[in-house]
């Protein structure tokens, strides 16, 4: 396996997130990550990065996101850092309740993001370090 990993910094905008996802997908291909796992990674990364754009930096409207990714055997590891607002209560939001599907009129139009992240990742962890957020998670690679 070629050494090193991905390490990028980019502005917290939706356009830059798109570009960073594209960069990350190319990097994962370079790490020898299969199509299925890359597709899952794109979903999880999109949710985590858009949360930073829409929530962590919502008060000032701009900021920088740092993304690292590397392969650890059959696990892909990711670390995201930003200098925005902390998670509410300093904890990762919960999944949507599973009884939401009873009435279509009340269906949620948001809040799917953390459900997806929680369902798809392993070792999900959040730390607030001074003024900085750090979110780490892993993805189990599909069986060969």
């Amino acid at each position: 396996m070629g050494g090193g990993g991905l390490h990028v910094l980019f502005p917290a905008t939706q356009t830059s997130v798109r570009r960073a996802l594209s960069t990350a997908m190319s990097a994962l291909r370079g790490f020898g990550v299969d199509d299925d796992t890359r597709a899952t990674a794109e979903i999880v990364l999109a949710e985590a990065l858009n949360n930073v754009v829409e929530h962590a930096y919502e008060d000032r409207g701009h900021g920088i996101i740092e993304l690292e990714a590397w392969r650890d055997g059959r696990i892909l590891r990711f670390r995201l850092r930003d200098d925005g607002l902390p998670m509410p209560g300093n904890v990762i939001p919960e999944r949507l309740p599973s009884d939401i599907l009873i009435g279509t009129a009340d269906l949620p139009e948001g809040g799917f993001g953390w459900s997806l992240i929680r369902d798809l990742t392993v070792d999900l962890a959040y730390h607030r370090d001074g003024t900085r957020n750090e979110l780490c998670f892993g993805l189990s690679m599909s069986p060969v």
Binding site: Q14, E42, E47, N50, V53, A105
Partner: protein
């Protein structure tokens, strides 16, 4: 946001001609869908066969569009690609929508009204 419409009898098909419905385009998508649904017939099918990626913002915009179809009107989906299907399944939204494998199975029996 490139949405194309075609009407077949009392069915309108809206085709998304973009590879992604994500946070960058979700609001635009929702606004355009609102107009197309409001002016549409009772049955509206959203063809997602060209969409390879959707995030929770895009999913939320599709749910909002479905909720906008009221009374006799309904919004159904067709042509979910593998990764889009995955997001619908994980969020259980695949149980909320009527999902067709592809639009040709619907338009096959319908006259093209242009």
């Amino acid at each position: 946001m490139d949405l194309k419409q075609s009407d077949h009898g009392d069915t309108r098909i809206i085709t998304v001609s973009e590879p992604r419905i994500d946070a960058a385009v979700a609001i635009q998508f929702k606004d355009q869908m609102r107009e197309l649904i409001a002016a549409g017939p009772d049955r509206v099918i959203l063809d997602l066969s060209r969409v390879g990626f959707i995030d929770s913002s895009g999913l939320g915009a599709i749910v909002a569009s479905m909720k906008q179809a009221t009374g006799p009107q309904r919004l159904e989906l067709a042509g979910l690609t593998r990764n889009v299907q995955k997001v619908f399944a994980l969020t259980r939204m695949d149980r909320v929508f009527t999902i067709h494998p592809d639009v040709s199975s619907i338009t096959g029996g319908l006259a093209d009204a242009g």
